[in-house]
Symmetry: C2
Subunit: 264 residues, 2 copies
DNA sequence: CAAAGCTGTATTATCGATCATACAGGTTCC
DNA sequence: GGAACCTGTATGATCGATAATACAGCTTTG
């Protein structure tokens, strides 16, 4: 039996160290073992350890000081944007107003089968497909692929899509958006997403797939979003409800989140 | 400038094809381009294309037929478990009752700084640390690392933790769990998690970090969960609420999910 | 200052991933 | 049947990742 392929030892050590850092095992500001020590510990060459540390440094997780050591970066340069789940999408509309959007692709195509089905399209019906990237402070953090039925897509122009949130354009057209279903998952960055998000191929990404329906149940928007996990994550507050036999967690709604007191 | 490291071309092509498959671009049951065609398209040797296809086949995404071609597997072998967000945690209690749990590690340790802080522990206070794996139909799908203050952890035994959901044990001890905050994100599998979840190192994982508080605000549980995205994902229904000027999405609560109508 | 430790850099050697090519055997279609 | 495709398999050559080693320059410590 051929042994399975080992995809880069450097990557393995990078992952190990990264886990220990984000888990708080190696506290911020602390110095991690020297390169020779790490090399011995993992039974690899020092060159390989260095490449792992290169990756960590490029992500801003560690800071190297020649002659001194390698330290866990305490104030992570870019703080992740926190998306409160109680207003998942409105937060995105806010985002659309306070961040930059780059439109990478725009056009009308025949939809993939899965998307046609989820939107409830008739066979042969075409869709508008757009790919956008959102940036915060000039840095990309999300890669959005949307599919909208052609009849709806035609109510706005390419320039409008580049400037305004898609949901706003949809509602402007008179379509009511009442319900949506969404799924949150994880994947690896493919070549296009990696390039757009300024990442290595194979980096982890948060995914959000949302299908928006109008009151009649007709699908009006299929959104596939990829997020850089270091710049974006979903947060939510939960409260425990129900009687003893049937206690559950439920998202804490309505209550606006207390403003962050951190001075930064 | 040295060009950045390209970690395995085979992996790159694997990711490309995988994306097209899960996006529905290559419809289930369909045949994908021949190996020579793929090799030419990506400017890569056929051997490399084969290794990418090997990965896809091992994940059950494609099926190869000698002499005929490579086809997208239409009935994906393992369906992801769907976690409805309206009862994120109670669903986990249900899981705990209908799935197997393996306890990989159990003990009392000094907590990492980040965890001590999030639980509001006094300096020097120790915690119970446990690592568990959940399996569905004998297949692992989640890797759970929990930290509980020592005084609380001592109210149950290692054997009880292996048999019953942790939150149940906490509540049994008389501690009231009222509030929790959680964050959903994505990472790559490190060596231990990869081994426990039967994955390659560097596979993508969904992460859930939850901190449970009692009514006085004291932290009683710190949970770090890693999920295999092919076997687990978060789903939720949203409704649009609010007046025109301030419309938002809100999780649809209470209403039990309509049973899926798909025959399949 | 000097010793010890660290990161930064370079060199050569080895091993694995990838390439280019060729051929065997199955499937599809005419 | 036979041509044209496909996957499965094997070969030797090439290139990149890793190993082993050495040294320069900086920082910290005594």
């Amino acid at each position: 039996m051929k042994s399975s392929v080992e995809p880069l030892k450097a990557r393995r050590i990078y992952l190990l160290l990264r886990d220990r850092i984000v888990a708080g095992d190696l506290p911020p500001g602390g110095r991690l073992p020297g390169e020779p020590a790490l090399a011995a510990e993992h039974a690899v060459s020092r060159v390989t350890v260095r490449r792992a540390l290169d990756l960590l440094e490029k992500e801003g997780l560690v800071q190297r000081k020649a002659g001194s050591g390698t330290f866990v970066h305490d104030s992570r340069a870019v703080r992740p944007i926190v998306a409160d789940l109680s207003n998942v999408l409105s937060h995105l509309i806010d985002m659309g107003r306070s961040t930059d959007v780059k439109l990478l692709s725009f056009g009308y195509v025949a939809p993939p089968e899965a998307i046609a089905e989820s939107l409830g399209l008739k066979p042969g019906e075409r869709v508008q497909r757009s790919v956008r990237v959102r940036l915060i402070d000039g840095e990309p953090f999300s890669y959005l692929t949307t599919h909208v039925p052609e009849w709806l897509g035609l109510t706005y122009s390419e320039a409008e899509l580049a400037a305004r949130p898609l949901l706003e354009l949809i509602e402007r057209s008179g379509v009511k958006t009442e319900r949506a279903t969404q799924a949150i998952n994880a994947t690896l960055a493919g070549p296009e997403a990696a390039a757009a998000l300024d990442l290595e191929i194979g980096s982890p990404l948060l995914t959000l797939t949302r299908i928006v329906h109008d009151p009649s149940g007709r699908g009006v928007e299929h959104l596939h979003a990829l997020y850089r996990p270091d710049r974006y994550s979903f947060h939510m507050d939960l409260v425990r409800i129900g009687d003893d036999g049937e206690r559950r967690w439920s998202p804490a709604l309505g209550r606006p989140r207390a403003p962050s007191k951190k001075g930064r």
